[in-house]
Amino acid sequence: MPARIAESIGDNLLEKAAGTREFLQFFGEAIRQMFLFSRQSQVATLVLMRQILFTGFEALTLISLIAAAIGGIIIIEGHLMLGDFGSGQLLYVILVTVIVRELSSLLVAFIIIARSGTAISTELGNMVVNHEIEALQSIGISPISYLVVPRVFGVVAAMFTLTIYFTVAGLLGGWAVSYFFFPIGLEDFFFRLLNELAVVDIFSSFTKSIVFGFAVGTIACYQGMKVAFATTEVPQRTIKSVVQSLTWVIILDILITMVFYVL
């Protein structure tokens, strides 16, 4: 019995190691092709633009609504928590800390994982099943340079752009709700906010958005491309893509926050 358990653990570890090696190979090739992107821009630009359109522009309404609602909720909760205790300037600190530093990039990443990460995995998985990847190979086009690189770039660009919109919408939502508690003009609100906002907050937020975009795009493409033959593999790979993306986004968030604010 113990021998069987040990064997099972060993097999599992070997499988994990093989999986990691495979991902690293994929990742390495993706990085290499990213540097060669300009050479294939004629065929890949269309994919890139459509990825930004789908992941970024089409998610703008959703992101803005969520951001405005969250900005408002933060103010309401903050106000309830702080009561009347001289919370005026503190609200700006809360908004900057919660929305700009943390939530903007994290929530945008979550929404993109749910919306585009799944779509990318499913699309690429189905492309494998329908021999579309092989069709590209037969033409001589590297699927990584044509399908993966523009998608990853597209997700990064969309994530970066949406983070800006999320921040603006979140702060506007915060202002709109705080207006009920502390009637203050939009201009005045933003100037007080700018006082609390440090350049490092903006840089950390956008570093996160770029890194998250990179992680989500790469993982979604990898899982999609890992589909071998059957359509039944597609949803399984999509789930794996979501789980891995969420895990990595949180790990990277902690690491980046530590780099910017702790170290």
Partner: protein, 246 residues
């Protein structure tokens, strides 16, 4: 081992998947401008052989020589050049589902001929689509097309890069008679232009009149080969079955 006038030479090709040998120590030569039909039943390995020749699958062992160039250890530029010389037509067309027909057809042209103006490329695409009465599907996506339209579009995509080797998997499967006629006509035209044609099929049917060579394929091996007349005389039960000889 080498052949005169060899366009494509496969030597000791072996390919296995999940421990099962799908192609076994296969050596074949295809002359320039020849029209060969690989005849085999489902799972005989003919599609895999075509994919190996097309550079989609890589053999475990053996080598492929194309135009006297060993396809192993090629530079990126050499590989691109060889890819342009070889075109593959998939059974179901394998058009990219997120692109329109026009974008699908433009893709290999943009990749292999980035310097040619878009208008010239569009002219070539329109010419082919008009020839097959498909100009109205130009802006449609694959999901909106019939099986025959997909296959013909895939065929046009393969022809647009002016290949020297044309690999076609089941060209007449699920294709209406008119489209079949158009396809055969195109293959005859390509043959006359010295394009090496290799077709994978389950039935010789309409190719018999035009092809030079038939290879009877089973379990990843060539069971028998020769001109259509020669294989017709075969006593092998499988050959007889594939040729519908009672």
């Amino acid at each position: 081992m080498s052949f005169d006038n060899s366009h494509l030479f496969l030597e000791n090709i072996t390919f296995s998947h999940n421990g099962r040998a799908l192609i076994q120590d296969l050596t074949l030569n295809f002359e320039k401008g020849s029209f060969s039909v690989i005849l085999g039943g489902s799972g005989s390995g003919k599609t895999i052989l075509l994919k190996i020749i097309g550079g989609i699958l890589f053999p475990d062992d053996g080598r492929i020589v194309l135009d006297e160039i060993d396809t192993e250890n090629l530079t990126e530029a050499e590989e691109k050049q060889l890819r342009q010389k070889t075109s593959f037509v998939f059974q179901d067309g394998a058009l990219l589902s997120n692109l329109t027909v026009r974008e699908n057809l433009m893709l290999p042209l943009d990749f292999h001929f980035p310097g040619i103006p878009k208008s010239d490329k569009m002219e070539a695409i329109s010419g082919y689509l008009n020839r097959y009465s498909l100009s109205d599907i130009m802006e449609k996506r694959p999901a909106e097309l019939s099986q025959a339209q997909k296959k013909l579009s895939g065929f046009i995509r393969a022809l647009l890069t002016r290949p020297e080797i044309l690999l076609i998997d089941e060209p007449l499967a699920s294709v209406d008679p008119t489209s079949s006629r158009l396809l055969i006509q195109e293959l005859v035209k390509q043959k006359s232009q010295k394009t090496t044609i290799i077709v994978g099929a389950q039935s010789l049917d309409r190719f018999e009149k035009w092809c030079d060579r038939v290879l009877i394929f089973q379990n990843g091996k060539v069971l028998e080969e020769g001109s259509p007349e020669q294989v017709r005389k075969s006593e092998n039960p499988l050959t007889k079955e594939l040729l519908h000889i009672d």
